[in-house]
């Protein structure tokens, strides 16, 4: 298992992801990045895909399912979404898809802003280990990450993907 993903591999994964997103052919998509890695990734995709609607972001920290256990952990950034997402085709973007709980929290927040026409999920890395029935619609790279380790995307520019102890 390499200790990081090389820049070449990362570039290939990004291109793979961009292609998969393009093939989704969402009409007037609203790109929503999940803080923080997802936001950097979304910024890159926004530029790469030439999306016209302004980039949005959300944190989902207030919607986590483990708040009762440990309270708020760390900083929760303000979300930046249009007043209403009614009827929008949303591309939800995160850096790593693992248990699926972050995406679930993000969906909870997203639906407080209205009723989208559809929500598609784009992730840079799918590392398996799902605990909820959530799947990505566009993936850059599938990777088996051993337990006790995690992937971390650093950015915003340049983007770099590293493997570290969890």
């Amino acid at each position: 298992m390499p200790s990081s993903i090389s820049d070449t591999q990362l570039a290939a994964a990004l291109e793979q992801l961009a292609g998969a997103c393009a093939r989704l052919a969402l009409p007037d998509p609203l790109l929503v990045g999940i803080e923080t890695g997802g936001v950097w990734l979304a910024r890159w995709l926004h530029a790469r895909l030439g999306v016209s609607a302004p980039l949005a972001s959300l944190d989902a920290g207030f919607y986590r399912d483990d708040l009762r256990l440990g309270g708020l952990k760390g900083q929760v950034r303000p979300s930046s979404l249009p007043t209403s997402v009614d009827g929008r085709h949303i591309l939800l973007i995160d850096d790593v898809l693992h248990t699926g709980r972050t995406v679930q929290a993000a969906l909870r927040e997203l639906f407080d802003f209205g009723r989208p026409a559809c929500v598609r999920l784009a992730v840079l890395v799918d590392r398996g280990g799902r605990e909820l029935p959530i799947r990505a619609d566009a993936v850059g790279l599938t990777l088996d990450v051993p337990a006790g380790q995690r992937l971390r995307l650093s950015g915003p520019d340049p983007l770099h993907l590293a493997l570290e102890a969890a």
């Binding site: 944190d59 920290g61 207030f62 919607y63 708040l67 009762r68 256990l69 440990g70 309270g71 708020l72 900083q75 929760v76 950034r77 303000p78 979300s79 930046s80 979404l81 007043t83 209403s84 909870r108 927040e109 407080d112 802003f113 209205g114």
Partner: protein, 331 residues
């Protein structure tokens, strides 16, 4: 002074749980600097919630917050109610007029009964200094107590929103010159402001007012006592106004509204000695023509309206940190 800082530490220490997390907010005395910063950062994120169409987040979903107001207050109570509801908490409001407690249940009995109904947090305002600390020392381990004002002692959320508002406009407040003007002797807001300002590195603080309302011994709280506003307001960056209550005339503290306004009212003229860009704050409700002139209250320096908006975000942050603390891992 060091004796008093030891006292402040004792007053503040009871607010933290065994893991060092904020469990109660009773006072800004003895609060850790990083706790303050965390609350401000959290408020930054929560401000945005108020701008959405669905104005809530599920942070306190399933929790019950009881607003226990022994002193009448529409404004503070309402903002706490809104704040708790925006965090998806179940809110129960109890307006307890002072007379019924004197012949009925004691404070601690009231608390015990409410706790039996699965309360997760109390937001309490009481006429007696020390009431919040008393309640905090008697609640169950999972229950948070937030002080919405206890007698003349503390009103931490008001001071927090004041400091937050200044910071929003001016950034870092350390090194600023600040004047607190009015009835400091009886003001819980002023005491909390003093503690908060000192925590944020403000050392030049002036307490301005007549000697009956700003006696010399208040200087030991870490400020300079000024009976002449020209001296007290000289070169200040911020003026924090306090309300003058009607009772002070009856109690022989000041002769009349007119004399007070003449000598201590914040007017454009009085502000001439301050910095040209000095900010003006007031906890409200304002007594126009008594402690502050309308022109100043409604003018460009006034932060009175942002104070109100920020009040909700700050109180959401406080509730989220304390009531949303999560289970104690080693209870």
């Amino acid at each position: 002074m060091s004796d008093l800082s030891g006292l402040a530490q004792r007053l503040g220490a009871v607010q933290y749980d065994a893991q060092g997390r904020l469990r109660h907010l009773l006072t800004l005395e003895g609060l850790r600097r990083d706790t303050l910063e965390e609350l401000f950062t959290l408020a930054d994120s929560l401000v945005e919630v108020g701008a959405r169409s669905v104005k809530n987040v599920p942070l306190l979903r399933g929790k019950t917050v009881v607003l226990l107001f022994f002193e009448a207050s529409t404004r503070t109570r309402t903002t706490f109610e809104i704040a708790a509801k925006r965090l998806s908490a179940d809110v129960v409001t109890l307006d307890v007029p002072a007379s019924s407690t004197s012949k009925g249940e004691s404070l601690l009995d009231t608390i015990a009964n409410l706790q039996a109904m699965q309360t997760d947090a109390f937001v309490m305002r009481h006429a007696d200094s020390g009431a919040a600390h008393l309640v905090a020392s008697h609640v169950a381990p999972q229950v948070a107590v937030i002080n919405a004002g206890d007698g003349c002692h503390a009103h931490p959320t008001q001071a927090l929103l004041d400091l937050y508002t200044i910071r929003q406009r001016r950034g870092n407040v350390a090194g600023m010159k600040v004047a607190i003007v009015g009835d400091v002797l009886h003001s819980r807001v002023a005491r909390s402001q003093l503690a908060g300002l000192r925590l944020l590195g403000v050392t030049d603080i002036r307490l301005v007012g007549p000697a009956t309302l700003v006696p010399q011994r208040l200087a030991q709280l870490g400020a300079r006592v000024c009976h002449d506003p020209r001296e007290g307001l000289a070169d200040v960056d911020v003026v924090m106004m306090l309300r003058l209550q009607r009772e002070r005339m009856a109690g022989g503290f000041v002769p009349s509204d007119r004399e007070y306004f003449e000598l201590y009212g914040l007017t454009e003229q009085a502000l001439k000695v301050a910095r040209p860009d000095a900010l003006v704050l007031h906890p409200g409700p304002i007594n126009r023509g008594v402690e502050i002139a309308s022109a100043v209250a409604d003018g460009g320096r006034s932060l009175i309206l942002p104070q109100v908006t920020n009040g909700i975000a700050i109180r959401m942050a406080v509730l989220a940190q304390t009531a949303g603390r999560g289970a104690d891992t080693d209870v």
